[in-house]
Assembly symmetry: D2
Homo-oligomer: 290 residues x 4
């Protein structure tokens, strides 16, 4: 990667602001677009003109890149930006990065000769994001449980990226951690790290013994039947994306406290999240020989 | 300790409610006094008459036992209880326990032939309370810092009970922990546990390098001069009791975020705090051969 | 898996003896073959006849199943067993398990209608074996280093199964652990677990800063050039199988202490290794519906 | 402490050699006395004359300072040094440090106007030495147990300096650690650090459940009666000084493997031990304003 590049940081939330600051601190030339309110409140000063957008070596669009109604995701701007018009500002010589890019947007970009690199699809970002996600889960547990995490009996469902770190953090704080997984090799890992391994198909009948259940599996793991097994003061935290791993309606009617915690990294640690995006962008640039 | 005793639990907050429930679960006979609202909302049913107060083997008064205006501390009661009149209900055959008992109340009790055992003065309760205190500090850090605790540079001032566990918890979560202490042997302990030892007299000049400073020493450690050294986004948490270890006025005028976090155990983990009090009461009873 | 099966445990070292004992403790009927000396010294009593071998539901052959000259690996027997003749004792109704089965032996067995399940090829055994392997590495470090592991600067090369646990164990003991890996996502994991990540291509020039280097990558990582960079009192431990990751000749002539530590699980924790094999055999039986 | 002092390092084992090297690396002028064989094999070159001994600002005698027959402890010298004659070389202007100084030697020195500072009596050295001691215990456990420490059930008797770190290290390696202590506050600490607390008076009847028992209490804790309770494959390690905490005769006749591990720091980590002594000498000099 060259020592000094021209970046255009576009739209997004606190993470993008921090990203712009970090790029500037690293010695790059940085301009921002569609985040004029952020600029007022931060150290990032240089607002882009269309010329400067076009002149950037690398354009970093936000995470997620678009809102639900298909506009550029730009909460720190008063204006609305049609995503098509934003693409019109860009050109094929630029390295364009964005997060959570839908298939139709990739296609639309390709038709204009543009290639969008989705940094959210990269494994190293997903791994790095598991750290703030796990901390967010710990924070919720500390806030909601009337007991200390130390000594609490915690069941983590799933031993993927987030499950691994959630288990690690709770065990570090002195909780008695069980982890439910399906594969024999995952169960061997769970034991090697010192947690109690549970076959995911055999958790029924034992759920009453936990103070906290954290679901990380993107499937309906906590059905009404399982929720009925929980002790009334057991807390459930779900970090699986849509449709979620808990039957929230059943939880409500049973009086089980269930919290669906999505998008934790940007909420609990926007500055760290900005750094994670910066590192991933650098990796992309490095791979492209920029 | 006998298997089955008659307890009267008097006044207090959620911790006393939990205490009453735990004593009942252990098979003891429990009545409550001056917490009639709590009784409505909990499993503790049996409200005391004056006769039952007098008939209890052990009376557990709250923590703190009195309010600032000298009444029994009874937030779950509509009535106000003169502490002198409460003592009149008790007798010299009973084991009377209370928390944070002022000298004048000890004296007044003795004049009536009563002996109050202050469970808050016991070392094992102070140690056990350091766990929820440390968790409360971690919770504040997770809530307030825009970065992850993982990787954060944390300075803990003091290596007493709470300092030890605060350092341990932050290190467990992946923070880079330094601990400032005065005694050579404390510095040796700090190193043995894997934290960076700092002579407390030599922290000046290095304070800019921390993301979080936690003070546990009951003395004005963070003076205006030291606060000036901090980075603007550094968070300060003070758990030292009155008058506190931070110059909060200076912090406010310098724009340093400083949080004075007192009485964390009862606030962050009332159920665990109730258990800690129960265990300590049992120790007192055991020592008295009850 | 059925509650009670007939097992025949054949040949092998202390791990097989322990395996036989554990199977018997679990209520199974166990006979042993080609380990008559072991039987004298242990609680395993029942030596097999050829009839009993043929009557076993499951036959467990040793790890490795054959010696370098193609006989059954049977150090606790005075006799030599041609592997072909051993196969003649078995039949197609039996579940046959063995460790480190060469391709020609699989083929020979299939020609006789036999199917050998190689438990050493299973992921969960490899993961579980990483625990005693990591402990073996820690033991060597404790024995050989004139400094404490606490505070020692350790470089682990590779972040596969063993690398993960070696890093975890050294960090737990207070070492300052760096891990070198190639993939961005591995580097993200290394950071998430709190070790210092190093790009494997960029360790040259920094090797002088370590007290201990542990190689887990099956490639010549520590070349003469890199060994020259090490401090003279740096210890190198290699757990990569043939041809090993260290240029041992160069190490010898440079005076660098280099230890090639192979087959650690069976050596440092034969009883645990026996348990690991037992668990894996059970998984195989479970999958086969036995 | 002044930047550059003249040190004379006298007698002793590898720790003293390392101490001399470290002092020289720190920029001090160092000569050695009564360790001429060490000098041949190490980087420490400058052998003292009597004049240079007398001219040193600080004289560091070994740990222990004398042998059992009252000579200077000087294993790296061919000569024998009467301790009285050694004192004759010193003078009252010098800061004289030594380890494990018997009362009669303190007295003899005072009569000559000399004051000996016993660095072994200092709390910070005892704390720092607990680190190599704990590592030595871990090393023995790794060497002797046929199971992994991970998952092993370990009982630590006593929660003083070494007990604290022994428990910490074993728990870090994944053992299930119980700690037996007497005081309620120690039991609260044991729980706060996540180990299972055991009242020391109530361990009888449960000893059969451990794979490893480590005694740190300088009293006969493991009597014949208690040894009888252990499982036959349980390992006992005793680090209590004379007369030791295990009935070793009974252990031998019962076939219980019992290891008395004394003086671990100098044996398992002589270089670290030299550093610990150096740090303690510096603290003494700092306190004396040297």
């Amino acid at each position: 990667m060259k020592d000094k590049l021209r970046f255009c940081v576009m739209g997004g939330d606190l993470r993008q602001i921090k990203l712009a600051e970090l790029l500037a601190e690293d010695g790059h030339s940085v301009c921002t677009y569609a985040m004029e309110q952020a600029v007022e409140n931060s150290q990032v000063q240089n607002v882009c003109t269309h010329d400067r957008v076009a002149g950037a070596d690398c354009v970093v669009m936000p995470l997620p890149v678009i809102t639900s109604d298909g506009k550029l995701n730009a909460p720190f701007s008063d204006a609305a930006y049609d995503i098509g018009k934003v693409l019109d500002l860009l050109n094929e010589k630029q390295i364009i990065c964005a997060g959570l890019v839908p298939a139709w947007l990739h296609k639309q970009a390709r038709e204009q000769g543009l290639m969008i690199h989705d940094y959210f699809a990269r494994e190293e970002l997903a791994v790095a994001n598991a750290v703030p996600t796990a901390e967010g889960v710990v924070q919720i547990a500390l806030e909601e449980l009337p007991i200390t995490v130390h000594g609490a009996r915690v069941l983590v469902i799933g031993f993927g990226r987030t499950g691994k770190l959630v288990a690690h953090r709770f065990a570090s704080l002195g909780a008695r951690v069980s982890v439910a997984a399906r594969k024999y090799s995952d169960l061997a890992w769970i034991e090697a790290y010192g947690y109690a391994p549970e076959q995911i198909g055999q958790i029924d009948g034992w759920l009453f013994s936990y103070d906290l259940v954290v679901n990380t599996v993107p499937a309906r793991m906590l059905t009404e039947q399982r929720l009925r097994e929980l002790r009334p003061d057991c807390l459930c935290i779900d970090i699986a994306s849509n449709p979620g791993g808990i039957d929230f309606e059943a939880a409500a009617s049973l009086g089980v406290k269930a919290i669906w915690a999505l998008s934790l990294p940007g909420r609990v640690a926007p500055v760290t999240s900005g750094k994670i995006i910066r590192n991933t962008i650098y990796n992309i640039l490095h791979e492209l020989g920029a």
